[in-house]
Every structure is written in structure tokens, then in C-alpha cells.
């Protein structure tokens, strides 16, 4: 595209519905946030 650059590629959240929710990922508070909730930065264990 000439006028748009998509940073996320073709992947969408909907695509994660079939395999999602396995729960192997880290819990948010085990890292550096102890007083907020930040999940958008977490890595999917199945994606490693």
C-alpha cells in the first residue's frame, strides 16, 4: 500500500481464538508491575 503501513501484518485477534486460552503464559504481576495490569506486552508461550 502507498498510504498505509500496517505494523501488525495480517494477524488479527480473531485468529487466536481457536488455539487461545491455554494459560501457559506468564501472569502479569510476576514481572515488574505490581500495582497495575499490563497484558499487551506478554509473550505467548506457543509463539516462542
Amino acid at each position: 500500500m502507498k498510504r498505509v503501513k500496517t505494523l501488525t501484518g495480517k494477524k488479527t485477534y480473531a485468529g487466536s481464538m481457536c488455539k487461545g486460552g491455554c494459560g501457559e503464559c506468564q501472569t502479569s504481576c510476576q514481572s515488574a508491575c505490581k500495582t497495575s495490569c499490563t497484558v499487551g506486552n506478554q509473550t505467548c508461550e506457543n509463539h516462542k
Partner: protein
């Protein structure tokens, strides 16, 4: 739902429900703003661009829409109910190794480590029972997380060593892997503890608030002296000994240092590469609490920090800021994004005497006492309340563009400000939205840099 904004010279468009993030030119930015409400003819008439430019932009917008990457719908409400109804297992514990502390931080949510109770240290027996409880309640989950927390856990470090030893002895037998984290204020940190942590801890969180005067005002020693002078040299050495990975220096900013970007940069200038700095969460009557009127200044600070991080990255002086971390291509599944941090279900806190609470911030709130590590969960209805809590049960989240990044916010913050876990803390939400915007801008800038090279 589409959210669009301009930051640091970038036009950014978030398609909230697909997760797609676009960087667009001015024409397309303006076309997208009108696209849902206006016809193509009206858009051509309203915008001050050449017809050909508008045609090209319209073509690209329509193409993105057809691919499900723009103006997509929220289709997850029924799905998340299904996910929530699945049986959950416990996969992480926050062990309160010591309800005691050797600092006297003014903003401590733990009341100088005591959590509304008496000073107390966890025994090895309680620690081992906690790991047994975790293994027994973790189903087939392989990776288990255990955070050594306090108070100050190094005040009871022999028990930390024993719990780690015991955990390792369980791994082969039960096909588990423990990921340990140590959170410390650094006062008692020595070479022996660092060596042990470098062998055994997946992560260490080192508490420091930034500049000496900022840190020492909020984090004095018990006798009112500087903690900065004691901890800073040790933290620098500790971070280096971990090759600048698998750790965070973690600070808290308050109304007293709204210029907190200086504290983050102070830590970066000292050589730290992994930095976290969170807004204080405290009751509104405290003089250091953040107020709504502070938000414009805080937003400017986040913008300043984000722009500086882009500049430093270009100069080869990169550092990581935890609250601007965002994974746009390999982040968590939508189930995780919408269902929260796992407090009260997958993640529990354990007091020094073995009581279980939904998370470390609920410890001492008797209404949230779940059971103990010996008898297990005795008040499942509390866990059910946490399990059923998600972005669709919170009115304020429904129209928020950041809901797929914060998953509805922190239950403890909601409880502190509204007396219920089914609400959100408005100030926290405002700051979270700003951080998401800045984080995406950084990605846009670094992506452009890659192209320019």
C-alpha cells in the same frame, strides 16, 4: 471501533477489535475519520486534498476493511464466556516471605511490610506447603511462577533458599518448571544473594525510584537516612552480573515527582537497560497521590519519555521501559487480553502463615481471605467472582480502545477506589491509554527507521 491519534509526527490508526495498527499519511488519516459517517462524495467535498489523493486513500481504506483490518466488530463476548467457564488452575504464587521491612517508604501499600497485621516471617514449612499446594492445583500446567515478595524477602533469605531447593526437588517428579522471581529493596543485597539469584531467579525486581532526592524522600531507611547511597551501587553491579537481562529496576512516581521522565532517564543514564516506573496507587487524601488535574503534565512526561527513547534507540543507546512494552506481532491470545491478569484464579498470594488471598494487594483484606495452603481454597465464591470479571462485565471498558492491552485493569485498584472488583480506576485508565499510545508510536518510529536503513 477505530481509535486514531497523532504523536511525535506519526498518524496512527488502531483498529481496536482486530488488533491491527496502521501508520497512515495525512490524507488517509482524515479519510478514516470521516469514513463511517460520510459518503465518498461528502468526503471528497469536505477534505482539502486533490481528488486523486482521496481516491487512493479511499481505495486503501476499503481494502483494509475487506481484509478485516479496519472497522472490524467486537466478536469476542460469547467466546470469553466460554473461556471463563473452563476450569482454571493455579499457576503462580506470590509468597510473602517477610511481613517486615528495613525501609519506611511513605507510600507502601503494605504498611511498611505488615499488611494490617503483625511483623511475621514465613517458615520453611509454610513455604514448602505453598509449593505443594501450587503443584497439586496446577493441573497439567508445566511452567509455574513463584515470586518472593514482602515486605522485604531478603530479611528471611534462608527460607527463600530452602523454598527454591524444595521446588527444584519437585520439578522432575511432577514434570513442572519453577520460574522464581525475587523482588527486593536492595538494602541487604550482597554478593552471596546476587550469586544465588543469578543461578536460580528467572527475574529480579529491584526497587528504586530514580533520582537520589526523589528516592530518598519516599524511600528512607528506618532511621531516616538515604537508601539510594546503599542500593544504587549494588543494583548497578547486579544488573551487569545478569548481562542487563531478566531484571527490572522498578520505581514508583508520585505527585512529588510528576517530572518522572527524569527519574527514568536517570536510571537509564546510570546504565540500566530494563526499567519500570509506575504511578503510585494511594488514597486521594494522601498529599503524594496523583490527582486528575495532574494528568496533562503526566501525559507530557510520557510523550517526552517516548520521544527520548526513540532518539536514544537511533543513537544506539536503547533501553527498555516496561510500561511502553507492546508486542504487536506475537502478543497474547485474545482470551488472555480480555480476561485479566489471573488474580484470584491463576495467581494467588500467600501470607507468612500460609493464608491465601487473590493477590498481594488484597492481603490483609479479611473479606478476601480464600483459605490456606494446607486446606486449600475454602471460599470458592470469591475465586468465581474474579473468574467472571472481564472487560465485558465492566461498563467503562466497553468503549475503551485500550481494553485489549490492559484486559480491564487491576482488580485491586478497582476495589481500592470503588469497593468492588467490577469497576475500573479512572486515573489508572487514563494513564494506561496514554502509555498504549506512546508504546505504539515508538513501534511506528522504529519501523520507519528500519525502512530508512
Amino acid at each position: 471501533m477505530v481509535h486514531q491519534y497523532k504523536n511525535n509526527g506519526y498518524n496512527i490508526v488502531m483498529d481496536v477489535c482486530s488488533g491491527a495498527v496502521h501508520v497512515v499519511d495525512d490524507v488517509t488519516y482524515d479519510v478514516i475519520a470521516l469514513f463511517s459517517e460520510k459518503s465518498p462524495d461528502e468526503i471528497r467535498r469536505l477534505l482539502p486534498y486533490e481528488d486523486q489523493e482521496i481516491e487512493e486513500a479511499l481505495e486503501e481504506v476499503i481494502s483494509l476493511k475487506e481484509e478485516g483490518l479496519l472497522f472490524s466488530e467486537d466478536i469476542y463476548e460469547e467466546y470469553i464466556e466460554e473461556v471463563k467457564n473452563r476450569k482454571t488452575v493455579v499457576k503462580a504464587l506470590c509468597l510473602h516471605i517477610a511481613h517486615d521491612c528495613n525501609l519506611a517508604c511513605r507510600y507502601c501499600f503494605a504498611g511498611e511490610g505488615e499488611y494490617k497485621g503483625d511483623r511475621s516471617l514465613m517458615s520453611p514449612e509454610v513455604g514448602r506447603a505453598a509449593l505443594d499446594f501450587l503443584v497439586q492445583n496446577s493441573g497439567s500446567r508445566h511452567n509455574l511462577e513463584v515470586d518472593f515478595f514482602g515486605g522485604e524477602p531478603t530479611m528471611n533469605f534462608d527460607v527463600v533458599r530452602e523454598i527454591v531447593r524444595y521446588g527444584r526437588s519437585l520439578e522432575d517428579k511432577y514434570d513442572k518448571h519453577f520460574r522464581f522471581t525475587l523482588t527486593t529493596n536492595g538494602i541487604l543485597l550482597d554478593d552471596e544473594i546476587m550469586d544465588f539469584a543469578n543461578r536460580e531467579m528467572d527475574n529480579v525486581v529491584l526497587s528504586i525510584d530514580g533520582r537520589k532526592e526523589v528516592n530518598d524522600y519516599m524511600r528512607p531507611t528506618k532511621n531516616g537516612r538515604s537508601s539510594y547511597d546503599i542500593i544504587m551501587p549494588k543494583f548497578i553491579r547486579f544488573a551487569e552480573s545478569r548481562q542487563q537481562e531478566r531484571y527490572y529496576v522498578r520505581g514508583t512516581f508520585t505527585r512529588r515527582n510528576l517530572d518522572f521522565s527524569r527519574d527514568v532517564l536517570h536510571l537509564a543514564d546510570a546504565g540500566f537497560k530494563q526499567i519500570s516506573m509506575e504511578p503510585v496507587v494511594s488514597s486521594p487524601e494522601e498529599p503524594y497521590s496523583i490527582r486528575e488535574e495532574d494528568l496533562p503534565v503526566i501525559f507530557e512526561e510520557y510523550d517526552r519519555l517516548a520521544a527520548e527513547m526513540v532518539s536514544r534507540s537511533r543513537e544506539g543507546r536503547w533501553f527498555n521501559f516496561f510500561h511502553f512494552m507492546i508486542d504487536l506481532t506475537g502478543g497474547p491470545c485474545v482470551a488472555k487480553r480480555l480476561s485479566g491478569c489471573g488474580s484470584g484464579t491463576e495467581y494467588l498470594a500467600v501470607t507468612p502463615w500460609g493464608d491465601l488471598y487473590p493477590c498481594h494487594q488484597f492481603v490483609g483484606e479479611k473479606d478476601y481471605l480464600l483459605g490456606d495452603v494446607y486446606k486449600g481454597i475454602e471460599r470458592a465464591e470469591i475465586c468465581d467472582a474474579f473468574r467472571s470479571c472481564n472487560v465485558y462485565t465492566k461498563k467503562k471498558c466497553r468503549d475503551c480502545f485500550a481494553r485489549f492491552y490492559c484486559s480491564g485493569g487491576c482488580a485491586a485498584n478497582s476495589y481500592k477506589f470503588h469497593g468492588t472488583i467490577d469497576d475500573t480506576c479512572d486515573l489508572s485508565c487514563e494513564m494506561e491509554r496514554k502509555r498504549v499510545e506512546c508504546a505504539i508510536m515508538i513501534k511506528a518510529a522504529l519501523a520507519q527507521e528500519g525502512e530508512d536503513e
